[in-house]
Structure formats: C-alpha cells, structure tokens
C-alpha cells in the first residue's frame, strides 16, 4: 500500500513541475504572440548563403 502514497507524491510533483513550467513560459512571453513565430520559421536565412544568392530575390521561391 505504501507504494501508492509514493506514486501519489510523484504524480503531484510532476504536475507541479508542469504548472511551474507553464507559469515560467507565460511569464517569459511564450504565449504573447501565437502568429509571428509560425511565419518566422519559414524565412530563409540569407545571410549564410549570400554567395549563392541571386541578386534579384524576387525570382527565388
């Protein structure tokens, strides 16, 4: 029976861990903007590939 108390405690600790992570994420602004990052991830990082980049960016897809 003792094991169930241990498991209860562990479950509570895990839940608390997630709660605190959630607080931390909220405080750090993870939920402030749910649109921009989804767009940002699709941008090419041109700085690193400047050499093989054509001068007119409009023709690249």
């Amino acid at each position: 029976m003792g094991i169930i108390y241990l498991m209860l405690t562990v479950s509570l600790v895990i839940a608390l861990f997630f709660l605190i992570s959630f607080f931390w994420a909220t405080k750090n602004g993870q939920f402030d903007d749910d649109y921009t990052p989804s767009v940002r991830i699709l941008f090419e990082d041109e700085l690193n590939q400047k050499s093989n980049n054509q001068t007119d960016g409009s023709s690249e897809v």
Binding site: L19, F23, T26, F31, D32, D33, V39, S59
Partner: protein, 784 residues
C-alpha cells in the same frame, strides 16, 4: 485597358510610373524601398506575398525630431545600457508575413540595429540598437521611409498584464482539476470506502489543492457577483457563484466529516471550463483590438515659437495663445487659429475625405488634420486635452450605452435564479416528508447541478466565433456586446461623404471652353506628373476619353496644396486652386481645379464624389430597417440618393455634427435602436450615442475613437449580409440554451431524486460544457 499595379504596394500605376528593370512602381517612394531592399538582399520580401509593400509617406527629418528631446525619448526606451538600447514601437502598418520578414531583417539595412522582433498580433516591433551613432529618431525615420511609420502614442500598459492573469488562473485550475480527478478515481469506481485511511489522505490533499482555485482562480466570479448584488442587479455570475460556493462548501464538509472528497473534482473542473470561456473571449478581443487611446494619433511633441527661439515641447505643455509651428505632413495638435496666410489641411484620416480643405489667415482650424504644403504658424486656442473633437468624444463616453441594455444572459439569469430557488424549495418540502435528514444534501446538490456553466460558455463562444467570422468578412467589432446590440437595431442612419460615396475616387466633370486634342494631351501629361488625388482623378477622367500622352514637360513646378504648372509643346499650363490660377472661386462648396493655358482661363474640372458600388442593392436588402441619411453636404446629390433609397427613408442635408447627434438622440428618445454608419471623427458624437456606431474606413487601422465597429469601406455593400450573420448568433444561442437547459434538467432529476453522486457530476459537467462549445463553434463555421 490593362491596369498596371505597383510592384511594391499594389496600387494602380497611373501614367508613366517609375521603373526598375521590368518592374513598375506607382511612386518614387515605392521605388526607393524596392531599391533599398534589393541592395540589402531582401528581395524575398516580394516572393512571400505579392505587392505586400506599404506605400511610404513623404518623410521629413522634422517628423520625429521630438525624439531628440531627452524626456520624450526616455518614455519609449524600455531598457538601455552603455552601448545599446531597446525600444518597443507600435507599427500599425504591419499586415502580412512579408512585413515580418522585412522588419526582422532590418539589421541588414542598418547595421546599428542589432535585432528586431515583431509581434504580429500587437503590431509591435521590439528593436535593439547601438546607441553610438544611432538614435531613436533616426530609427523612426528609417521605419517611416520603408513604409512603417511608428505611432508614438500613449500605450496602455494594463492590457498586457490582464491577459496573463487569465493564463495563470487557468493554469492553477487545470492543475487542480487534473490532480483531483486522478485521486478521485477510486471514488468513481466505487472503491472509495475500501481504504478509509487512503481516502482521507487524498481528500485532504484535494482540499489543499482546491484552496488556490477558490481563492485565486475563481475570484473574478465572486467579485462580479458581489458587484452585481451591490447594485441590486443580477448577472449570470450570481447563479454561478452560488453553484460554486455550494459545491465548495459541500465538498469541504464531506472531506472534514471523513466522507470522501465530495465534488472537489467537479469544482476544479467548473472553474477550469469557465476560465477557458473567459480566456477565449479575451483572445478574441486581443486579435481584434483596434481601440487605442485617441492621443495615439496626435503627435507627441510640437515646435513652439517663443520670442527668442523655437523649441520642441510636449503637447500637454501647450498653453492657450502659444504660437506653434506645424510643418508639411504634420498633424495639427490642437484647435487653433491660423497666423500664416493660408494653409491646406488634409482631414482624410479623420473624415475619409481626401481633398484637402483650404484655410486662410484668421481661420479656426480643428485638431486632427494633417498639413499639406508649406509650414504654418498657429495660435493655440484650446489645450489639446480639451480639444473640440476629444471633448465631443469624452462627453459621449460618460453616458455611453444606456445601462438598461442588459446582456441577454443577465436577463436570463434572473429567471434562472428564481426557477432554481423554487425547485430547491419544492424539493426541500417534498424531502421533508420522505427523509428530513437529507434535505440539506438535496438542496445543495440542486444548487450545484443547476450552476449554469454551459450557459456561461455559450455566449462567449458563440459571440466570439461570430466576431471572428465578421472580422474575416471586413467588419471589426469592438466587443461581443456589440453583436447583441446589432440584433436589436430598428433604424440605420447613414452619413454620406465617405460612407455612401467614395472617399478618394471622384467623378470629374469639365466645365468651360472646348479644349482641342493637343491641349488635352498636354493636360494629361501635366496631371500625370503629380500624385495628388485630384491630379489622379483628372488623369483617369482624360484616360476614359482615350487621351494619353507622354510629352516632355519643361519648367514643371508643383506648389504643394495649390496646383501644378509646366510647359508642354509651347503650351504653358497651370492647373490648380482658384488662387493658384488667379481666379475667384465660383462656389465655395465646390471642389474644382481651374485650368490656365498660356495665361487665359479655359475652364475648370469639378469633382463630385461617386457612390460606392453596390449601395443601391444594399438599400433594397436593408428595407426591413428604417433608413435615414444625414449628410453634411449641400443637397446636390439629393435626386441620386432618393432614387436608391426606399421611399419612406428620410434624407437630410447640410447637417452639422451637432445636428446629427441631436437627430440620433431624438430617434432614441422615441424608442428606436439606432445603427449609425459614418466616418471616424467627423461623426464621432453621433457614432458614440447610437446603439451601434460603425465607422467606415479605407484603412482599418485608422483612428476611430467612439465607434463600436469598423467596416472596411469596400465591404460596405455586404452590410446586410454582415448584419444577418450577427442576427444568426441569436439562433445559435437559442440552440445552446436548449442544450444546456436539457442537461440541467437531467442533472436536476438526479439531484432531486437524491442520486447526484460525484461520478454523475463529474460526467455531466464537462459533457454539457463541451457540447455547448462544440455546437456554437460548429454552427458558426457552417454559416458562411
């Protein structure tokens, strides 16, 4: 004719345009931005979204000079150390993914910028820049140059914190809900009594975890219910609070009496679901938040002329009789009198009217207009915070929306509460005959199960979804209450200029001597060299007559706000205002451009505004409302309006803003519910006191202080459809209501018969909430 659109901003290229390689641009500004992006390897801007650019304004160095003043600059710097500074700027022009791309790559354009991060939802950019050799005002000028003029208004800080509180509360409730439910499993399986020691342990643990839920997560409901009761009214939060308290006390009693965890899981679940509803509502507001402090549109600082020198000062410091200097493209900060000889003021972002208004020495000038042309001196007549327009708005705000207009839910909750109390009373009496010891338990479980959680969720989700749908279709509402008010509308009042008629495109008529082909071609060439709205209209007018030309112009001159002149094939031509062409204006109310060819007057172009497309169809589809028109103009368009409006409509002309306001007040006194459609500031008073005030705007990010909604100008024709969507929400609500009431009846039957076990509560409660949320979402999705 094939219409060429600007590679940068997508506007129609009128006339020759500007070219780089094969790409056409409508103005030099757009071309410059393209060049800048191309030079900095940011060409991908154009591949993300076609014609994504924003047409840049003619920027002047003076425009952001106030940022050089230390005290003003510091207000906009979030953080700074020895080398760098961080600022968060509101850039209202952000509108697509290309904007994000461009702004986040600012570092490539200006090496002094270290990083730039865009928050699309808030239209803000957080920029870190090197302090050495770069200033905030230079940053502002750069942003302005590429089309993203920062808006230095007073930002409200409260908004941000508010948002996060909901998330914290939601987190706490979710944590408690999950944990308690896990521990309650033995109860659900009927194993609760097998091990009393373990049961006690989990019960006390549940109780401990529920404390933050009741004290922190749920406190909004308690506060709201308390406020309602204190003002002797009822809102939906009252029955909810009663349910919550009954649930909590019953469960706590059960725990301390050693009878297991009671309904603690349902309690935490209740709060969790309720908060999801609130969070959803809040999120809807955030994405559609267009309401900004009116001060955000007035400039932060102005140049004041003192006896010794010119100084930049904050607007709040301006005193009556101060002399101020306003430059080209600057906003008139306060009501004042013109000291300089003449001025042209563009009230377009106030009224939607794109033709600048002439003012002469000694004229009174209202705040809010933008100066076009030479710099002027003004004498301050009213301090800015007491400005004519803001005053009108502030007056309105105090008695905004009669307090008797209850939310539908609040009305319902009164009935709801009475019925529940009657049922509780009846069951109590009945049980006193059956088993008097169980009376308290029965009454408490009735109060618990009747808690209108599903009902509370139905409104935010239905209205929230409808609001989003409307937003996608071009009607942006300030909040969900507007939907309820739209649904009661009996009368629609239209403004004319900028609402029924287009703000920028004009109908042109030529009055005067017959012009020969050469002269027309010369006129075309000359007008084509100017980007002024009237010149553009003239070009379109001539083009419609198959005139086009690309003749060389010599001695070209454009006097900003007055007219243009030049010589083409030995024809010396002047087009412009009466004073520019040395004429007496014929009719002060007429907008016209005179034509002088070789110093002899030929005639004039008269501009009249055109009705928007689809207006006459709109009027037919709105015929179940009483329609009114209040126009500030003379009645020259009366016959056109009479032909499109239903017979019993009332048309009034030459109405001042004050007349409009009184007219609507009168309608309201007669028990009508008025929807007013007009332009932002000019009709601010009238919009404010109407039950629903909708501002028509070419640009939805425009300033509209007292309106309840903004409609995109080109979507006005679909107004009837938009109103029908809004009305549809009533049906959806009724269906949701039906469902939540049937769940309540099922729950009540359990409660009255004394069978409301924690398991039944734990199943009923989430199911009813989820059904309502799904129903309201699904219905609105299907309606399209």
């Amino acid at each position: 004719m094939n219409v060429l659109s600007c590679y940068h901003c997508g506007d129609e290229v009128i006339g020759k345009g500007y070219y780089i390689e094969e790409k056409a641009f409508c103005c030099n500004g757009c071309k410059t931005v393209y060049q800048l992006l191309k030079d900095n390897n940011l060409g991908a801007f154009y591949s993300l979204e076609a014609n994504a650019g924003v047409k840049p304004n003619v920027s002047s160095i003076h425009k952001f000079a106030f940022l050089e003043v230390e005290s003003i600059r510091d207000k906009f710097i979030d953080f700074e150390d020895d080398q760098t500074a961080r600022t968060t700027l509101f850039l209202p022009q952000i509108h697509c993914s290309s904007c994000i791309y461009l702004l986040e790559n600012l570092t490539k354009i200006e090496t002094n910028i270290l990083s730039c991060q865009v928050n699309f939802t808030k239209r803000e950019a957080t920029i870190i820049f090197k302090k050495e050799g770069f200033t905030l005002s230079q940053l502002a000028v750069l942003l302005d140059k590429i089309g993203y003029a920062p808006n230095f208004g007073n930002r409200s800080e409260t908004e941000k914190k508010f948002d996060k509180t909901y998330l914290y509360k939601l987190g706490v409730a979710g944590f408690a809900f999950g944990s308690i439910m896990l521990w309650s499993f033995p109860e659900y399986l009927g194993l609760g009594t097998d091990n009393p020691e373990f049961r006690n342990f989990t019960s006390y643990l549940s109780f401990a975890i529920s404390i933050p839920v009741v004290l922190y997560s749920a406190n909004d409901y308690f506060i709201s219910a308390y406020k309602a009761l204190r003002f002797k009214s009822l809102n939906l939060d009252v029955p909810i609070t009663i349910g919550i308290i009954a649930l909590y006390l019953q469960s706590s009693y059960s725990i301390f009496a050693g009878n297991g965890p009671g309904y603690m899981d349902s309690f935490a679940g209740f709060i969790f679901f309720l908060l999801i509803g609130k969070w959803f509502q809040n999120k809807t507001y955030k994405t559609l938040s267009f309401e900004r402090d009116y001060t955000s549109y007035f400039p932060v600082a102005v140049t004041r002329i003192t006896e010794k020198n010119e100084e930049i000062t904050e607007i709040e410091n301006l005193k009556i009789n101060d002399k101020i200097l306003v430059r080209n493209e600057e906003v008139i900060p306060c009501d004042s009198i013109l000291i300089s000889d003449s001025a042209k003021i563009d009230y377009s972002f106030v009224t939607g009217e794109s033709i600048p208004i002439n003012k002469y020495k000694g004229d009174f000038i209202y705040a809010g207009g933008k100066l076009i042309g030479q710099r002027i001196e003004l004498k301050v007549e009213k301090e800015s915070s007491r400005s004519h327009l803001t005053q009108l708005w502030n007056d309105v705000k105090t008695d905004k929306k009669n307090p008797t207009s209850f939310l539908y839910q609040d009305k319902l909750s009164a009935y709801f509460l009475t019925i529940i109390l009657l049922i509780a009373l009846g069951s109590g009496i009945a049980w006193s005959f059956i088993d008097p010891t169980r009376i308290t338990q029965i009454i408490v479980s009735i109060l618990i199960v009747a808690c209108p959680c599903a009902l509370a969720l139905s409104a935010p989700f239905t209205f929230g979804n409808v609001m989003r749908l409307l937003g996608r279709k071009g009607l942006y509402l300030k909040n969900t209450r507007v939907i309820e008010r739209i649904n009661t509308i009996t009368d629609i009042v239209f403004d004319k200029t900028g609402t029924l008629t287009k703000g920028s495109s004009h109908h042109v008529e030529y009055i005067g001597d017959e012009l020969n082909h050469d002269q027309l071609e010369a006129l075309y060439s000359l007008s084509n060299s100017s980007t002024h709205p009237l010149s553009r209209s003239i070009v379109q007018f001539l083009r419609a007559q198959n005139i086009s030309s690309n003749e060389e112009i010599t001695d070209f001159d454009e006097v900003s706000g007055k007219g243009i002149s030049g010589t083409i094939n030995s024809l010396n031509i002047k087009i412009g205002s009466p004073s520019f062409c040395e004429q007496n204006s014929i009719d002060k109310n007429e907008t016209s451009s005179f034509i002088l060819i070789n110093n002899s007057t030929k005639g004039r172009f008269v501009f009249t505004s055109e009705l928007r497309e689809g207006i006459s169809e709109l009027m037919t589809s709105l015929n179940h409302y009483d329609l009114h028109v209040l126009s500030g103009d003379k009645d020259k368009d009366k016959s056109i309006l009479e032909s499109i409006f239903p017979e019993n409509s009332k048309l009034f002309f030459e109405q001042t803003p004050k007349n409009k306001l009184e007219y609507i007040e009168n309608l309201k006194k007669n028990g009508k519910h008025v929807l007013m459609i007009g332009d932002g500031l000019n009709d601010a008073g009238a919009l404010g006191i109407s039950d629903v005030g909708i501002a028509v705007s070419e640009d939805v990010f425009r300033f509209t202080p007292s309106s309840d909604a903004i409609i995109e100008a080109n979507k006005l024709a679909s107004l009837a459809y938009l109103l029908s969507i809004s009305n549809f929400s009533k049906t959806v609500l009724k269906v949701c209501l039906l469902f939540s009431i049937s769940y309540n009846i099922v729950g009540l039957s359990f409660a009255i018969s004394g069978n409301l076990t924690p398991l039944v509560a734990a199943i009923l409660m989430p199911i009813s909430s989820i059904t309502v949320v799904l129903l309201s979402t699904l219905f609105v999705r299907l309606k399209k």
